[in-house]
Symmetry: C2
């Protein structure tokens, strides 16, 4: 099969009307002036973001989900996506059908469709780049720079699980199954993101560890965020000591939980939302006037470390 056969057989069935059956050089989107179009791109690179020996369906889902998580962080409703896939020639016939099955499943789960992209070979490693498109009412998406003095810092779910899953990827211990699952298949908090539209005034998804992403919010809002380490929601894994769990939460990547600031006024609303969505929402810090550092730990003078950096 050549690339046109793959596109015909596997990718065309994933598309919506904007893709024009993948027969054009481009997709055509009917713009709606009452909405903003929200656009984000994330790449997953073999050897950097994934090992390469995972089920291709899981790799596909993770590629979509990290992008869906970016839509969640904007409070946007995901609509459709563009995919560029580069695969070594020798892997294509095994990889593509399973990869497409993963896309198909998650397209249903998250109600999105493919609108176009590019399929090429590569010499050695797989590279997946997805550009995702979402919408929000004009001017209503949630920025990264809207936190105010006195705002609370909230986080969804629990943190650090994904890093534990990655560190114990080759372990067969039952205790690590949930963590490994979370590492392989994060849950983008799309519904939560949309529900926070009139509550959160700044938001980010935690892809690089709590410290790095909380620093982004504080820096963009030109404030200091003070995090209460004892409040951080950690996983319950007996095999691992608390210190390592906390470190995974602070500096580990791939959690894809939402981190947001809001006025303390919304505390009760968030309690109700948490129970309605059956999803933990935890107040872990507070925003203060900028003082020397963008991020501090409450009652703890230790200096935050760096999270994963590509370069």
């Amino acid at each position: 099969m050549n690339e046109f056969d793959y596109i015909d057989k596997y990718f065309r069935p994933l598309t919506n009307e904007f893709a024009l059956n993948l027969k054009n050089d481009a997709a055509i989107i009917n713009q709606k002036s009452s909405f903003d179009l929200i656009i984000s791109t994330d790449s997953l690179v073999e050897g950097i973001h994934f090992f390469g020996n995972e089920d291709p369906a899981d790799i596909a889902k993770k590629s979509l989900r990290v992008n869906l998580s970016d839509m969640a962080a904007m409070g946007a409703k995901p609509l459709f996506y563009n995919l560029s896939l580069s695969v070594p020639k020798v892997k294509a016939s095994q990889f593509i059908p399973k990869f497409v099955k993963g896309l198909q499943d998650d397209q249903k789960m998250f109600d999105i469709k493919l609108i176009g992209g590019d399929l090429t070979s590569s010499l050695k490693h797989i590279n997946i780049t997805i550009t995702i498109f979402g919408r929000s009412s004009r001017g209503k998406s949630i920025p990264r720079d809207g936190a105010k003095i006195g705002d609370c810092l909230y986080v969804s779910g629990i943190l650090g699980l994904s890093k534990i899953g990655l560190d114990n990827y080759n372990s067969n211990f039952k205790e690590f199954q949930e963590a490994k699952r979370k590492y392989l298949l994060p849950q983008p908090r799309v519904d939560l993101g949309i529900s926070l539209k009139n509550i959160a005034n700044s938001m980010i998804d935690i892809s690089d560890g709590l410290v790095q992403d909380a620093t982004h919010l504080a820096k963009n809002s030109e404030l200091t965020v003070e995090i209460n380490l004892s409040k951080i929601p950690l996983p319950n894994i007996n095999k691992i000591d608390k210190k390592l769990l906390l470190d995974s939460a602070l500096y580990g990547g791939d959690d894809y939980e939402l981190l947001f600031s809001c006025d303390p006024f919304y505390e009760n609303k968030l309690v109700k939302l948490s129970s309605k969505m059956n999803l933990k929402l935890t107040k872990i810090g507070i925003f203060k006037k900028f003082n020397k550092k963008f991020l501090k730990f409450k009652n703890d003078n230790s200096n935050p470390k760096n999270s994963y950096l590509h370069f």
Copy 2:
């Protein structure tokens, strides 16, 4: 420098207001209901689409230009683009500044800006994925499936030069300089594409050789296109025999000329347009009722060969 430093120093200056200073998870586009948004993605992969030892500025320009060419093929005006760049750690500090300089130059030349993207490391090879956005008046972009029986097939510029440049990439002969330049830096026919909006009824840019791309037009329009081999505009290179020149035009890639169908009624208009734009526009074939094959050569029963296929 880590990825945030690179983004701050090199990529932020390339952006427009939609990028929100690259401080958000996504770009926000104000939609305009009188326009369609045209979206296309092309990747350039080291070892497949480029050698890797080219000037990074030229690699940047080619990445943009192959995408601009997709906008040209739709008759769309390019507006902005999204970039995902994966670079091995050891190459980043040398590659990124020069690559960005290339983007900067071509942003000016083609009046487009960066709105977002992703910057990651990779293990071995560079991967560049650009998603480009353009606009055309609602319902006015040029499809691939609009050719009618009796329509003429036209092509811009000359064909095959890029393939000659690639084949003689390591030659220092003066005769190949123009060809090598065309291979490294194609000229996307953006202005021509827009000018053809009320003339061409189907169009494609030639990225995979005349035969493959003319077949796309015929197949999508469910017709047979008959190409007159003696009319194909070939480069004038004495060192290379006519047979090889013709082969390069038919099956060589990377020409990025526009190939389009139109009613013979527009013949005079195209003569004037050609002279106004100082760009050759040549009638090389005709569309007929479908008969056995999508593409035939006039007075020549030889079977077309395959162009480059990734898989």
